[in-house]
Subunit: 298 residues, 3 copies
């Protein structure tokens, strides 16, 4: 009998996510070991259990998924998990706290359908603006776009926090071209925010649920944008005029995507990524690797 | 490959019930997501995971079971779960904390084999007495019988608590005919308790484990009762002369059922109900719906 | 459809062991109910769930595994689990906290390949020395060897703790021949420790990870030992000159086993034992029974 595909779900929240569990099952995980309230320390023996129970090619039938609503704790668990492996004694691992990495990847995959992000020389000519860029999804969208060569405006109500995010992304992506932008009332003449909107080829809104990030006036300024993506699923719309189900709908000069439109791409990336975990014992699927998975599906 | 049948077990106790888990597996759940210590608040994201991972007819392959030893918390979770659904974005859900709903349903199914409870016009002519009626099972037995039209004596050592239960049932079943009865020494001449015993066509004892609810003297008073049910599985018997394994055994003028006799009916209801959860995405199986399931098995 | 093989994993640590879970799945458990932070009290309703859900021969398809890093709590859970069963209403249960019982069994199985432990009359002529004998694995190795009739030196830095272990083993194995030995610098002339090393036919080192239990000088004293076993997997070696992967390697006059060499035997015992749990509903697999399982594999 072939060995069962086992996914160890390490979740930093007290209750392990049922969303991640169901997607994992639908992606082919045959057994699920769910752990809630996981910390870097408590992850170590769980990783040892993955490392020392199966040998040879059977090792690929065990994998680890790291989730939870706190991105920082989840990343710390991810780092500890990888530091616990040694040599070939390892299993594949995926990091997707609150779906932030698969969602950010899906947004970039959607944008790349209409903008030349796949070719670095062309991507360098693109400008993007990420609204709500200090949140978990926004940060990853900005990082992924910067990694493609796109010039990225990192917008937040707090210029200070926007700058901190730019520094963090700059540390991970040294060649990144980033600009911190404070979101202000767009009616203020000559604001950096207004200018950033006007110059953007791509705007991705990743603000809190139910928060308007780009109102009617702001939307009018976005005359150059060919793609507008709103990741907010809760009314009112984060970007004026975008509906949740929008998926490459023409709206003015732009093609627009809503939360459900991106969500269907996200689900494909999520499922495909989990199934890939079982193809080898050495994958490390963080945001960049998940984007690469998404690009193979496009 | 067809999608797996996933049951999300929301248990209010720290350790999710193994009883409920094993019955669910035997009823056809292919994957089980067990959660202990669930509260109304922590249930919400778990329900979202059920709602937003599968679409169309696949949604019926996910279902929710709510259990635990605290009926009130479990009911609060049940209410929150249903309030979290919207429109057709929902899954089937079953409420059976500590088996109270399936056990109460089984007791009524057993009684209905010998008393005309299925026909409202006849049921109105029946009188029942529920002993230990303020406990989780007793309350549900009283409510289910009242819903059938039976006149129900709600007995408790505390008349006050019996009255509170009558009010609660009356709120849920406006047409209910209920009488609060204080359990006293049956040798007291002319007590309301003695009268209630004498007039009852059906007596269901749902007291605490190992507690005598109807002693030899009390049993002698029950001259009119055609069915006596004792749900206590721990010696001494809750109703004098009933043995745990009794299942429609003739004892004096009555047919008697013990805890195991009712338990076998309960197990059939429990298993059938779980399997029905996966037939649609919109079932809500609380006590009344579980009784309806039991009636289809009779 | 045949009933699924369900293993209830009762783990005393907050996070249930993934090691035990994966081995159980590979041994044929089809469904796993994992419980962390289990205490004797919280185990009882979980055992009831195993007892009262399936009947007849189906009862053998449910089993209980008790693990965790604290041997004493795990043993208390094991005792409570067995006390909860009554008559034929029981399921098979295995006790293997932190793998101590399967590891100790594997060490004795390895030793018995080269020493006449299978025959009591011959075993009585053997002397063993267990280093780190107060730890969970060391205690069980000493107990299993004493049960075979071997004269066992129980060595610890603390003579007091060594004596306490001797008393505990003596209570479980009345015929045991045990000697408490304080581990000291072997260069001390005429120490009881030096004498115990010199006289031992078998030395098993079960000290803490990365702790040298028998250095070069000590190893030289072990002139009579035909088998040396080091259960420490973390450098430096617990016994000078033994490598983790050693499995019956000739080293001087002795055959030596390292942690991985014993580990492969342990895994076979562990898997076989779990699969046996489902063959009847009345097995109780503690250290002695697990050794018996190991002997059938030799």
């Amino acid at each position: 009998m072939p060995v069962q595909r086992i996914l160890i779900q390490l979740d930093c929240d007290p209750q392990a996510s049922s969303f991640d569990a169901i997607v994992a099952i639908d992606a082919g995980a045959e057994m699920l070991l769910q752990h809630g309230g996981v910390t870097p320390d408590s992850a170590v023996p769980l990783v040892h259990g993955a490392m020392f129970t199966r040998g040879g090619s059977d090792l690929a039938a065990t994998a680890i998924f790291i989730g939870g609503s706190d991105m920082q704790i989840a990343e710390a668990v991810y780092d500890r998990v990888r530091a616990t492996f040694f040599g070939p004694v390892r299993v594949s691992v995926m990091l997707d706290p609150a779906g932030a990495n698969t969602t950010a990847s899906a947004a970039v995959v959607a944008a790349a359908r209409h903008l030349p992000l796949g070719d670095r020389a062309s991507a360098i000519g693109c400008r993007a603006l990420v609204l709500g860029a200090t949140g978990p999804v926004g940060q990853r969208v900005a990082r992924l776009l910067a990694g493609k060569g796109v010039a990225v405006g990192v917008a937040s109500r707090s210029l200070e926090r926007a700058k901190a995010v730019c520094e963090r992304i700059g540390a991970a992506v040294p060649e990144a071209r980033l600009e911190a932008v404070a979101t202000v009332d767009v009616s203020l003449a000559g604001s950096a925010f207004g200018t950033a909107i006007e110059k953007a080829d791509l705007i991705v809104s990743a603000g809190a649920a139910g928060t308007v990030m780009l109102d009617t006036a702001g939307r009018l300024l976005a005359s150059r944008a060919r793609v507008l993506i709103d990741l907010n699923a809760v009314p009112p719309a984060g970007v004026d005029g975008i509906m949740s189900a929008d998926k490459s709908r023409q709206s003015g000069v732009a093609l627009v995507y809503g939360a459900l439109g991106i969500g269907s791409i996200k689900m494909k990336i999520h499922r495909t990524a989990v199934s890939r975990l079982f193809e080898s014992n050495s994958l490390c699927l963080d945001a960049e690797a998940l984007l690469a998975v998404g690009e193979t599906l496009a």
